[in-house]
Protein backbone atom coordinates (compact mmCIF):
# COMPACT_ATOMS: atom_id res chain seq x y z
CA UNK A 1 0.00 0.00 0.00
CA UNK A 2 2.45 2.62 1.09
CA UNK A 3 5.14 1.12 -1.05
CA UNK A 4 4.78 1.07 -4.79
CA UNK A 5 7.17 -1.32 -6.35
CA UNK A 6 8.77 0.41 -9.30
CA UNK A 7 11.88 -1.72 -9.65
CA UNK A 8 10.47 -3.87 -12.43
CA UNK A 9 9.38 -1.02 -14.66
CA UNK A 10 12.82 -0.44 -16.21
CA UNK A 11 12.79 -3.49 -18.48
CA UNK A 12 14.97 -6.50 -18.13
CA UNK A 13 18.26 -4.89 -19.02
CA UNK A 14 20.08 -5.90 -15.85
CA UNK A 15 21.13 -9.42 -15.46
CA UNK A 16 22.02 -11.44 -12.46
CA UNK A 17 20.13 -12.53 -9.36
CA UNK A 18 16.95 -10.61 -8.67
CA UNK A 19 17.13 -8.37 -5.65
CA UNK A 20 14.36 -9.03 -3.19
CA UNK A 21 13.29 -6.14 -1.02
CA UNK A 22 13.70 -6.87 2.69
CA UNK A 23 11.21 -4.22 3.71
CA UNK A 24 8.05 -5.30 5.43
CA UNK A 25 4.97 -3.28 4.80
CA UNK A 26 4.01 -1.93 8.25
CA UNK A 27 0.79 -0.23 7.24
CA UNK A 28 -1.67 -2.95 8.25
CA UNK A 29 0.06 -3.28 11.63
CA UNK A 30 -0.31 0.43 12.22
CA UNK A 31 -3.94 0.29 11.16
CA UNK A 32 -4.68 -2.50 13.56
CA UNK A 33 -2.79 -0.86 16.40
CA UNK A 34 -4.69 2.37 16.03
CA UNK A 35 -7.98 0.55 15.86
CA UNK A 36 -7.23 -1.13 19.17
CA UNK A 37 -6.04 2.14 20.70
CA UNK A 38 -9.30 3.78 19.79
CA UNK A 39 -11.20 0.91 21.34
CA UNK A 40 -9.31 1.00 24.61
CA UNK A 41 -9.46 4.76 24.82
CA UNK A 42 -13.20 4.74 24.46
CA UNK A 43 -13.78 1.94 26.95
CA UNK A 44 -11.60 3.48 29.66
CA UNK A 45 -12.78 7.05 29.68
CA UNK A 46 -16.49 6.35 29.65
CA UNK A 47 -16.42 4.07 32.59
CA UNK A 48 -15.69 5.85 35.82
CA UNK A 49 -18.45 5.53 38.37
CA UNK A 50 -19.22 8.74 40.21
CA UNK A 51 -20.29 8.86 43.80
CA UNK A 52 -22.24 11.30 45.87
CA UNK A 53 -21.98 11.63 49.62
CA UNK A 54 -24.92 11.58 51.99
CA UNK A 55 -24.70 11.95 55.73
CA UNK A 56 -27.25 10.04 57.73
CA UNK A 57 -28.24 10.95 61.28
CA UNK A 58 -27.18 8.86 64.24
CA UNK A 59 -30.27 7.08 65.52
CA UNK A 60 -28.76 6.33 68.89
CA UNK A 61 -27.94 9.97 69.61
CA UNK A 62 -29.41 10.70 73.05
CA UNK A 63 -28.39 14.33 73.46
CA UNK A 64 -31.53 16.26 72.43
CA UNK A 65 -29.51 19.34 71.55
CA UNK A 66 -27.63 17.45 68.92
CA UNK A 67 -30.56 15.40 67.79
CA UNK A 68 -33.19 18.04 67.35
CA UNK A 69 -31.29 20.65 65.44
CA UNK A 70 -33.91 20.68 62.75
CA UNK A 71 -36.42 22.49 64.94
CA UNK A 72 -37.54 26.06 64.77
CA UNK A 73 -38.04 28.51 61.95
CA UNK A 74 -34.79 27.77 60.16
CA UNK A 75 -35.97 24.49 58.75
CA UNK A 76 -37.75 23.57 55.56
CA UNK A 77 -39.19 20.10 55.41
CA UNK A 78 -39.66 18.52 52.02
CA UNK A 79 -41.94 15.53 51.64
CA UNK A 80 -41.73 13.19 48.68
CA UNK A 81 -44.74 11.23 47.53
CA UNK A 82 -45.18 8.79 44.68
CA UNK A 83 -45.36 9.91 41.04
CA UNK A 84 -42.75 12.62 41.59
CA UNK A 85 -44.99 14.64 43.88
CA UNK A 86 -43.18 16.96 46.23
CA UNK A 87 -44.53 19.03 49.10
CA UNK A 88 -42.88 21.35 51.54
CA UNK A 89 -43.61 23.15 54.76
CA UNK A 90 -41.75 25.35 57.15
CA UNK A 91 -41.53 24.42 60.80
CA UNK A 92 -43.13 27.04 62.98
CA UNK A 93 -43.42 26.86 66.72
CA UNK A 94 -46.86 25.96 68.07
CA UNK A 95 -48.44 26.30 64.67
CA UNK A 96 -50.02 23.83 62.35
CA UNK A 97 -47.66 23.51 59.37
CA UNK A 98 -48.98 24.63 56.02
CA UNK A 99 -48.27 22.13 53.32
CA UNK A 100 -47.55 23.44 49.87
CA UNK A 101 -46.80 21.62 46.65
CA UNK A 102 -43.39 21.93 45.02
CA UNK A 103 -43.15 21.47 41.28
CA UNK A 104 -40.83 18.65 40.36
CA UNK A 105 -38.43 20.20 37.93
CA UNK A 106 -34.79 21.04 38.44
CA UNK A 107 -35.20 24.75 37.76
CA UNK A 108 -38.17 25.14 40.08
CA UNK A 109 -36.57 23.21 42.90
CA UNK A 110 -33.35 25.15 42.57
CA UNK A 111 -35.13 28.48 42.46
CA UNK A 112 -37.23 27.54 45.46
CA UNK A 113 -34.29 26.53 47.61
CA UNK A 114 -32.10 29.47 46.73
CA UNK A 115 -34.90 31.96 47.45
CA UNK A 116 -35.78 30.20 50.71
CA UNK A 117 -32.15 30.15 51.70
CA UNK A 118 -31.87 33.89 51.18
CA UNK A 119 -35.13 34.55 52.97
CA UNK A 120 -34.27 32.48 56.02
CA UNK A 121 -30.69 33.67 56.34
CA UNK A 122 -31.80 37.32 55.92
CA UNK A 123 -34.01 37.08 59.00
CA UNK A 124 -30.89 36.93 61.09
CA UNK A 125 -31.96 34.57 63.85
CA UNK A 126 -30.81 31.51 61.95
CA UNK A 127 -27.18 30.55 61.79
CA UNK A 128 -27.83 28.10 59.00
CA UNK A 129 -30.47 26.96 56.58
CA UNK A 130 -31.60 23.42 57.27
CA UNK A 131 -33.49 21.18 54.90
CA UNK A 132 -34.94 17.86 55.98
CA UNK A 133 -35.99 15.42 53.29
CA UNK A 134 -38.61 12.84 54.07
CA UNK A 135 -39.90 10.33 51.61
CA UNK A 136 -42.88 8.08 51.62
CA UNK A 137 -42.14 4.43 50.96
CA UNK A 138 -43.48 4.58 47.44
CA UNK A 139 -41.54 7.67 46.41
CA UNK A 140 -38.85 6.88 43.89
CA UNK A 141 -35.15 6.64 44.61
CA UNK A 142 -34.52 8.94 41.67
CA UNK A 143 -36.41 11.74 43.43
CA UNK A 144 -34.20 11.33 46.45
CA UNK A 145 -31.01 11.56 44.41
CA UNK A 146 -32.35 14.51 42.44
CA UNK A 147 -33.19 16.42 45.59
CA UNK A 148 -29.85 15.64 47.22
CA UNK A 149 -28.17 16.83 44.08
CA UNK A 150 -30.07 20.11 44.17
CA UNK A 151 -29.00 20.58 47.79
CA UNK A 152 -25.39 20.32 46.70
CA UNK A 153 -25.93 22.71 43.78
CA UNK A 154 -27.76 25.35 45.79
CA UNK A 155 -25.28 25.01 48.65
CA UNK A 156 -27.58 24.13 51.50
CA UNK A 157 -25.15 23.78 54.37
CA UNK A 158 -27.21 21.27 56.33
CA UNK A 159 -29.52 18.71 54.93
CA UNK A 160 -30.48 15.20 55.74
CA UNK A 161 -32.88 12.36 55.18
CA UNK A 162 -35.25 11.37 57.92
CA UNK A 163 -37.93 8.77 58.34
CA UNK A 164 -41.34 10.09 57.48
CA UNK A 165 -43.70 10.48 60.42
CA UNK A 166 -47.40 9.70 60.64
CA UNK A 167 -48.20 13.39 60.94
CA UNK A 168 -46.49 14.08 57.67
CA UNK A 169 -48.43 11.40 55.84
CA UNK A 170 -51.60 12.82 57.35
CA UNK A 171 -50.69 16.26 56.06
CA UNK A 172 -50.23 14.92 52.54
CA UNK A 173 -53.55 13.09 52.67
CA UNK A 174 -55.35 16.18 53.91
CA UNK A 175 -53.78 18.28 51.22
CA UNK A 176 -54.87 15.85 48.55
CA UNK A 177 -58.42 15.88 49.87
CA UNK A 178 -58.70 19.65 49.77
CA UNK A 179 -57.06 19.81 46.36
CA UNK A 180 -59.49 17.35 44.82
CA UNK A 181 -62.53 19.22 46.09
Amino acid sequence: MAEIDTSQGGGGKKKGPKKVSTKVDMTPIVDLAFLLITFFMLTTTFNSPKIMQVLMPDKTEKDPKKRDQAQGDCTIIVLGDKNNQLYWYQVKKDKQPELQPLAYSNDKIREFFSSKKKEILAKGDCSQFIVVLKFKDDASYKNMVDLLDEMAIVGVSRYGIQDIEKDDIKLIDEYKKTASK
Binding site: A33, T43, N83, D137, L148, A152
Partner: protein, 257 residues
Protein backbone atom coordinates in the same frame (compact mmCIF):
# COMPACT_ATOMS: atom_id res chain seq x y z
CA UNK B 1 21.77 15.52 -26.52
CA UNK B 2 21.18 12.83 -24.01
CA UNK B 3 18.22 13.02 -21.79
CA UNK B 4 18.76 13.69 -18.11
CA UNK B 5 17.86 10.59 -16.24
CA UNK B 6 15.81 11.18 -13.17
CA UNK B 7 16.57 8.43 -10.70
CA UNK B 8 13.46 6.46 -9.92
CA UNK B 9 12.62 6.64 -6.26
CA UNK B 10 10.54 4.23 -4.33
CA UNK B 11 7.79 6.37 -2.76
CA UNK B 12 7.62 4.36 0.41
CA UNK B 13 7.40 5.57 3.94
CA UNK B 14 8.96 3.89 6.89
CA UNK B 15 6.09 2.85 9.09
CA UNK B 16 8.20 1.20 11.78
CA UNK B 17 8.38 4.25 14.01
CA UNK B 18 4.68 4.77 13.71
CA UNK B 19 3.94 1.16 14.57
CA UNK B 20 6.24 1.45 17.58
CA UNK B 21 4.42 4.43 18.89
CA UNK B 22 1.01 2.95 18.22
CA UNK B 23 1.87 -0.19 20.15
CA UNK B 24 3.33 1.80 23.00
CA UNK B 25 0.05 3.67 23.37
CA UNK B 26 -1.87 0.46 22.96
CA UNK B 27 0.05 -1.19 25.80
CA UNK B 28 -0.59 1.80 27.99
CA UNK B 29 -4.32 1.74 27.40
CA UNK B 30 -4.59 -2.00 27.84
CA UNK B 31 -2.78 -1.84 31.16
CA UNK B 32 -4.74 1.11 32.51
CA UNK B 33 -8.12 -0.05 31.22
CA UNK B 34 -10.59 -1.06 33.88
CA UNK B 35 -13.42 -2.98 32.44
CA UNK B 36 -16.87 -2.63 33.77
CA UNK B 37 -17.15 -5.26 36.47
CA UNK B 38 -19.76 -7.82 35.73
CA UNK B 39 -22.85 -6.82 37.63
CA UNK B 40 -24.96 -9.76 38.68
CA UNK B 41 -28.16 -7.79 38.27
CA UNK B 42 -29.24 -5.04 35.93
CA UNK B 43 -29.01 -1.69 37.66
CA UNK B 44 -29.68 1.66 36.11
CA UNK B 45 -28.11 4.31 38.33
CA UNK B 46 -29.71 7.74 38.72
CA UNK B 47 -27.78 10.78 37.57
CA UNK B 48 -26.42 13.71 39.51
CA UNK B 49 -23.95 16.53 39.00
CA UNK B 50 -21.51 15.11 41.55
CA UNK B 51 -18.18 14.40 39.90
CA UNK B 52 -16.43 12.67 42.76
CA UNK B 53 -14.80 9.49 41.58
CA UNK B 54 -15.16 6.17 43.23
CA UNK B 55 -12.02 5.18 45.14
CA UNK B 56 -10.30 1.84 45.63
CA UNK B 57 -11.42 1.11 49.16
CA UNK B 58 -15.08 0.63 48.61
CA UNK B 59 -17.78 -1.69 49.82
CA UNK B 60 -20.52 -1.66 47.25
CA UNK B 61 -24.10 -2.59 47.98
CA UNK B 62 -26.03 -3.18 44.78
CA UNK B 63 -29.79 -3.01 45.08
CA UNK B 64 -32.19 -3.79 42.27
CA UNK B 65 -35.78 -2.59 41.92
CA UNK B 66 -37.15 -5.63 43.73
CA UNK B 67 -34.97 -4.94 46.77
CA UNK B 68 -32.54 -7.81 46.15
CA UNK B 69 -29.21 -6.94 47.61
CA UNK B 70 -25.73 -7.82 46.40
CA UNK B 71 -22.55 -7.13 48.30
CA UNK B 72 -19.23 -6.32 46.70
CA UNK B 73 -15.75 -5.62 47.99
CA UNK B 74 -13.57 -3.82 45.48
CA UNK B 75 -10.17 -4.81 46.83
CA UNK B 76 -9.46 -8.49 46.05
CA UNK B 77 -6.96 -8.76 48.91
CA UNK B 78 -9.57 -7.96 51.52
CA UNK B 79 -12.30 -10.24 50.25
CA UNK B 80 -10.94 -13.45 51.70
CA UNK B 81 -10.32 -11.90 55.09
CA UNK B 82 -13.85 -10.55 55.29
CA UNK B 83 -15.34 -13.88 54.24
CA UNK B 84 -13.31 -15.68 56.92
CA UNK B 85 -14.76 -13.36 59.53
CA UNK B 86 -18.34 -13.86 58.41
CA UNK B 87 -17.97 -17.61 57.94
CA UNK B 88 -16.59 -17.98 61.45
CA UNK B 89 -19.43 -15.91 62.85
CA UNK B 90 -22.02 -18.02 61.07
CA UNK B 91 -20.24 -21.29 61.87
CA UNK B 92 -19.79 -22.45 58.31
CA UNK B 93 -15.99 -22.23 58.14
CA UNK B 94 -15.82 -26.02 57.87
CA UNK B 95 -17.85 -26.04 54.68
CA UNK B 96 -15.53 -23.69 52.83
CA UNK B 97 -12.35 -25.08 51.31
CA UNK B 98 -9.26 -23.11 50.36
CA UNK B 99 -10.39 -23.28 46.75
CA UNK B 100 -13.66 -21.65 47.72
CA UNK B 101 -11.82 -18.80 49.38
CA UNK B 102 -9.71 -18.37 46.27
CA UNK B 103 -12.80 -18.37 44.11
CA UNK B 104 -14.42 -15.81 46.40
CA UNK B 105 -11.38 -13.54 46.23
CA UNK B 106 -11.72 -13.57 42.45
CA UNK B 107 -15.22 -12.18 42.29
CA UNK B 108 -16.33 -8.67 42.95
CA UNK B 109 -19.96 -9.33 43.70
CA UNK B 110 -22.20 -11.90 45.23
CA UNK B 111 -25.72 -11.93 46.55
CA UNK B 112 -26.82 -15.02 48.43
CA UNK B 113 -27.37 -16.25 51.94
CA UNK B 114 -24.04 -17.17 53.55
CA UNK B 115 -25.24 -20.77 53.83
CA UNK B 116 -25.59 -20.97 50.06
CA UNK B 117 -22.22 -19.39 49.44
CA UNK B 118 -20.23 -22.68 49.21
CA UNK B 119 -22.70 -23.93 46.61
CA UNK B 120 -22.40 -20.97 44.28
CA UNK B 121 -18.63 -20.82 44.71
CA UNK B 122 -18.20 -24.46 43.78
CA UNK B 123 -20.56 -24.24 40.84
CA UNK B 124 -19.03 -20.92 39.80
CA UNK B 125 -22.37 -19.19 39.51
CA UNK B 126 -21.77 -15.54 38.72
CA UNK B 127 -25.08 -13.79 38.29
CA UNK B 128 -28.68 -13.82 39.37
CA UNK B 129 -29.87 -16.15 36.61
CA UNK B 130 -27.10 -18.65 37.43
CA UNK B 131 -28.15 -18.53 41.08
CA UNK B 132 -31.71 -19.27 40.10
CA UNK B 133 -30.60 -22.20 37.95
CA UNK B 134 -28.97 -23.68 41.07
CA UNK B 135 -32.13 -23.15 43.06
CA UNK B 136 -30.51 -20.60 45.33
CA UNK B 137 -32.46 -17.62 46.59
CA UNK B 138 -31.07 -14.40 45.14
CA UNK B 139 -30.19 -11.52 47.44
CA UNK B 140 -28.54 -11.19 50.82
CA UNK B 141 -31.05 -11.44 53.65
CA UNK B 142 -31.31 -8.29 55.74
CA UNK B 143 -34.40 -8.66 57.88
CA UNK B 144 -33.97 -8.09 61.59
CA UNK B 145 -33.95 -11.81 62.44
CA UNK B 146 -31.19 -12.67 60.00
CA UNK B 147 -29.37 -9.49 59.15
CA UNK B 148 -26.52 -10.78 57.03
CA UNK B 149 -25.95 -7.54 55.18
CA UNK B 150 -25.22 -5.92 58.53
CA UNK B 151 -22.83 -8.75 59.31
CA UNK B 152 -20.90 -8.25 56.08
CA UNK B 153 -20.67 -4.53 56.78
CA UNK B 154 -19.50 -5.23 60.32
CA UNK B 155 -16.67 -7.50 59.18
CA UNK B 156 -15.67 -5.27 56.30
CA UNK B 157 -15.43 -2.43 58.78
CA UNK B 158 -13.35 -4.57 61.11
CA UNK B 159 -10.86 -5.55 58.42
CA UNK B 160 -10.44 -1.98 57.25
CA UNK B 161 -10.25 -0.74 60.82
CA UNK B 162 -7.15 -2.88 61.36
CA UNK B 163 -5.58 -1.38 58.26
CA UNK B 164 -6.50 2.10 59.43
CA UNK B 165 -4.97 1.55 62.84
CA UNK B 166 -1.73 0.45 61.20
CA UNK B 167 -1.72 3.57 59.08
CA UNK B 168 -2.35 5.72 62.13
CA UNK B 169 0.62 4.26 63.93
CA UNK B 170 2.98 5.39 61.23
CA UNK B 171 1.80 9.01 61.53
CA UNK B 172 3.06 11.79 63.75
CA UNK B 173 0.83 13.91 65.94
CA UNK B 174 0.48 16.70 63.45
CA UNK B 175 -0.94 14.58 60.65
CA UNK B 176 -3.22 12.89 63.13
CA UNK B 177 -4.66 16.28 64.04
CA UNK B 178 -5.20 17.09 60.37
CA UNK B 179 -7.03 13.91 59.49
CA UNK B 180 -9.24 14.15 62.57
CA UNK B 181 -10.99 17.18 61.05
CA UNK B 182 -14.42 16.71 59.56
CA UNK B 183 -13.88 18.91 56.54
CA UNK B 184 -10.93 20.26 54.59
CA UNK B 185 -11.92 23.88 55.18
CA UNK B 186 -9.26 26.17 56.59
CA UNK B 187 -6.35 23.87 55.86
CA UNK B 188 -3.25 24.85 53.91
CA UNK B 189 -2.77 23.20 50.49
CA UNK B 190 -0.28 20.63 51.85
CA UNK B 191 -2.49 19.82 54.79
CA UNK B 192 -5.44 19.54 52.45
CA UNK B 193 -3.55 16.98 50.44
CA UNK B 194 -2.93 14.87 53.53
CA UNK B 195 -6.56 15.17 54.52
CA UNK B 196 -7.85 14.19 51.10
CA UNK B 197 -5.46 11.29 50.95
CA UNK B 198 -6.76 9.99 54.24
CA UNK B 199 -10.32 10.34 52.96
CA UNK B 200 -9.37 8.28 49.96
CA UNK B 201 -7.94 5.55 52.15
CA UNK B 202 -10.95 5.31 54.39
CA UNK B 203 -13.50 2.67 53.69
CA UNK B 204 -16.47 4.00 51.81
CA UNK B 205 -19.84 2.37 51.79
CA UNK B 206 -21.44 2.86 48.42
CA UNK B 207 -25.01 2.13 47.46
CA UNK B 208 -25.59 1.29 43.82
CA UNK B 209 -29.33 1.62 43.45
CA UNK B 210 -31.68 1.62 40.51
CA UNK B 211 -33.35 4.95 39.80
CA UNK B 212 -36.66 3.25 39.13
CA UNK B 213 -36.76 1.57 42.52
CA UNK B 214 -38.97 2.77 45.32
CA UNK B 215 -37.59 4.65 48.26
CA UNK B 216 -38.42 1.91 50.75
CA UNK B 217 -35.97 -0.42 49.04
CA UNK B 218 -33.12 2.02 49.59
CA UNK B 219 -34.40 2.88 53.04
CA UNK B 220 -34.02 -0.74 54.12
CA UNK B 221 -30.35 -0.61 53.21
CA UNK B 222 -29.88 2.80 54.80
CA UNK B 223 -31.47 1.50 58.01
CA UNK B 224 -29.06 -1.42 58.13
CA UNK B 225 -26.15 0.96 57.66
CA UNK B 226 -27.42 3.29 60.36
CA UNK B 227 -27.69 0.37 62.75
CA UNK B 228 -24.08 -0.49 61.95
CA UNK B 229 -23.09 3.10 62.69
CA UNK B 230 -22.20 3.89 59.11
CA UNK B 231 -23.39 7.47 58.73
CA UNK B 232 -21.35 8.53 55.75
CA UNK B 233 -22.98 6.85 52.80
CA UNK B 234 -22.21 7.28 49.14
CA UNK B 235 -24.56 6.79 46.23
CA UNK B 236 -23.42 5.75 42.79
CA UNK B 237 -24.70 8.15 40.16
CA UNK B 238 -24.11 8.74 36.51
CA UNK B 239 -22.74 12.10 35.60
CA UNK B 240 -25.51 14.39 34.44
CA UNK B 241 -24.57 16.09 31.21
CA UNK B 242 -26.39 19.37 31.66
CA UNK B 243 -27.43 20.98 34.91
CA UNK B 244 -31.04 21.14 33.81
CA UNK B 245 -31.25 17.46 33.00
CA UNK B 246 -33.19 14.50 34.19
CA UNK B 247 -35.88 15.90 36.42
CA UNK B 248 -37.07 18.35 33.81
CA UNK B 249 -37.31 15.64 31.19
CA UNK B 250 -39.11 13.35 33.56
CA UNK B 251 -41.65 16.06 34.21
CA UNK B 252 -42.33 16.55 30.53
CA UNK B 253 -42.90 12.85 30.10
CA UNK B 254 -45.41 12.85 32.92
CA UNK B 255 -47.45 15.70 31.55
CA UNK B 256 -47.66 13.89 28.23
CA UNK B 257 -49.24 10.91 29.88
Amino acid sequence: MGKIKIPRKNPSMDMTAMADMAFLLLTFFILTAQFKPETPIEVDAPSSTSNKEETEKVVKITVDTAGKVFFGIKEPKKREEILRGVAKHKGISGKLTDDDYKEFAGRENFGVDVKDLPKILQKKALNASAYKALGVKVGIPMDSANNQLGLWILYANKVYEIERAERREAMDEKTKAIIAKTSSEGLSPEEKKIWENEQKNNLKVVIFGDQRSQFKVIKQVLDVLQDRKVYRVHLVTNLRESAGGAATNENKKDTKK
